[in-house]
Symmetry: C2
Subunit: 159 residues, 2 copies
C-alpha cells in the first residue's frame, strides 16, 4: 500500500522515530506445534546423553533486551533430555501430550498446562515414556550458567 | 507414612540437607483454567482503567531466586487491561480462547499458543472482544519498573 509502512507477517509496529534493539514481534502458532518465523533446531550439540528432542527458540538472544528466554522442546516417544544441573532455574509448562521430569529420585508427571518450577541446583532430566510427542515451554534467565552433567548409574542407562 | 518425609501435593523433593530459598514445585493445571496451589487475584489495585480481569501468579516473588515471573491473566468477554507502558518487556502466550493486543494503533490477534513479544517502551493494552474468556501467560522480568499509564482519547473510552 503506497504511503503505508509495510511489515513482515511477524513484525508489529513499535514506536516510530526511536532506535531500539528490539521490535515488537508476533510468532503465530501453526499446525504440528511449529511457530511461524521460528526454526526447528537440534536440542544441543555439546552433550550426547539425550535422544529424540527438537528445540524451537521463541524468545532468545535475538531479543537483545529480553531478561529471559522462552524455548519449546519436544521429545518424541522414548526421547529424553540430558541429565543435568545448573545454577539457574527452569520453569516448565506442558503444552503437547504428556511426559515426565526426573527430579532426583522422583518422577513428576507433566501434563497440559501443568507448571513445574525446577529450582537452581536441582539435578533434572525430562523424558517421554508415552506414545505421543511430549512438548513443553521451558523458560530460563537470559543470563545463565552452563549446565553440568549429572553422572549416576541411572543416567548412564538412559533414563 | 512413618519414616518417609511428607510433601504437600505441590511440593516435590529438592536436594536434602541443603538450605535454599526455593523448593522445586509443581502447580497442576485444573478445570476452569485454575492451578492447584495458586490463588485467583484481582488484576491490579493501583489503577482503574481496566475491567473484568483476574490474575494468577504461577511463578512470582514467592520463588525468591527466580529471575522472571510467570502470570496467567484472564479477560472475560468485554474485558480489557490498563493501557500502559514500561521499560521491561512482556512475553505473552495465548492459552484460552482468543483476544487482542493493542500496540500503538494496531490490533494484534492472539490465539492459542501464539507468542507475542512486547518490547520495552511499547504502549500496549489487551482486550477481549469475543464471547469466550481470553486467557494468556504473561512473562516478565522479576526486576521491573512500574507501569506508566498511557493517556489517549481512546484509552479514556475503554478500548
Amino acid at each position: 500500500m503506497p504511503g503505508k509502512r509495510q511489515y513482515s507477517s511477524c513484525d508489529v509496529p513499535a514506536a516510530p522515530g526511536r532506535k531500539t534493539l528490539d521490535r515488537n514481534k508476533m510468532y503465530p502458532f501453526q499446525d504440528g506445534f511449529r511457530w511461524k518465523g521460528v526454526r526447528v533446531e537440534k536440542y544441543r550439540a555439546d552433550a550426547h546423553d539425550w535422544s529424540d528432542i527438537i528445540r524451537q527458540v521463541l524468545i532468545g538472544p535475538e531479543q537483545k533486551s529480553a531478561k529471559f528466554h522462552v524455548r519449546y522442546f519436544e521429545l518424541s516417544p522414548g526421547g529424553f533430555s540430558s541429565h543435568e544441573t545448573h545454577n539457574h532455574e527452569h520453569v516448565v509448562i506442558g503444552v503437547r501430550g504428556k511426559g515426565r521430569a526426573r527430579l532426583r529420585s522422583r518422577n513428576i508427571e507433566i501434563k497440559f498446562l501443568d507448571v513445574l518450577y525446577v529450582r537452581p541446583g536441582s539435578p533434572h532430566r525430562f523424558f517421554n515414556p508415552y506414545d505421543e510427542p511430549f512438548g513443553f515451554f521451558c523458560i530460563v534467565s537470559a543470563k545463565r550458567d552452563r549446565p553440568r552433567p549429572v553422572r549416576t548409574k541411572k543416567s548412564k542407562s538412559g533414563i
